[in-house]
């Protein structure tokens, strides 16, 4: 049996990328045991009021929009950078282009329809946190989509017409119904929830639990 895993997350979410890496480690071990998983990334906007072309860096965003002291923000980002490095992720908050992520979420829905959601998710997270790419504009998203095998022309049309906006909103409604108010959030077999970028061991235990519960006696 393949364990169904729905992962609510955002692009502009440092722990979502860390959680993705840790979950992937668990999946690798789970598959080595003979198990399998079917992963779907679901939409969750942490800061939907963020403008597409936010003027300023991440420190300014958190300081101005969340009311956090700048020194506290700087320290927090340094800790995030260090922790991400431990997972092999080279975060560059100095280069990060803070933006609205609703179009990126629409792109992930389009990518899923083409069987390319996972590589698209990885591409978006790396572009945002590591490469300082802008992930809020149609043309830049189309270019990134082209890198993972999607048709940039199709992506451009779909995003310009908001073809997957209803899918994004449906994900957000379901998250609210489940009581999800923070990400990353993992739902296994529609029954078990795991909140946060937990350790690979925690994810592996959850996968085993879901697998055993779903296996015939």
């Amino acid at each position: 049996m393949s364990v169904d895993v729905q992962i609510w997350s955002d692009i502009a979410c440092p722990w979502c990328y860390v959680g993705k890496r840790r979950f992937e480690q668990a999946v690798e071990r789970f598959r080595a045991e003979g198990g399998d998983v079917d992963v779907t990334y679901r939409s969750f906007e942490l800061a939907p009021d963020t403008p597409v072309d936010f003027e300023g860096d991440e420190v300014q965003f958190l300081a101005d929009h969340k009311g956090m002291p700048r020194d506290q923000v700087v320290g927090m980002l340094a800790q995030m950078t260090e922790l991400a490095a431990g997972e092999g992720l080279a975060y560059d908050f100095g280069a990060l282009r803070h933006t609205n992520t609703v179009l990126a979420h629409q792109l992930l829905h389009l990518a899923r329809a083409h069987g390319l959601q996972e590589p698209m998710k990885e591409r978006l997270l790396s572009a945002y946190f590591v490469e300082g790419r802008h992930v809020g504009r149609v043309e830049e998203l189309a270019a990134l989509a082209g890198e993972v095998g999607l048709d940039p022309a199709e992506v451009t049309a779909a995003l310009q017409e908001d073809r997957h906006l209803d899918d994004v909103r449906a994900d957000q409604r379901e998250a609210a119904e489940l009581g999800v108010n923070g990400v990353p959030f993992f739902v296994l077999e529609g029954r078990w929830g795991v909140s946060g970028a937990q350790s690979p061991e925690t994810f592996l235990a959850a996968l085993r639990q879901a697998d055993e519960a779903g296996s015939p006696a």
Partner: protein, 49 residues
């Protein structure tokens, strides 16, 4: 839909982002703290920590 999830117990360093702000581990400890001033006094969040 009214699904009630069974939450899987996590580690002390479970890292999560809420309302645009992300928890970070306290220095030298595995216990995460939400570094946002507007979260103080929220019993639901305090309980999750």
């Amino acid at each position: 839909m009214s699904v009630r999830l069974e939450m899987v117990p996590g580690d002390d360093d479970g890292l999560v982002c809420e309302d645009g702000v992300c928890a970070v581990p306290a220095s030298g400890q595995g216990n995460p703290q939400l570094e946002a001033s507007d979260d103080e006094g929220d019993p639901a969040r305090a309980e999750r920590r």
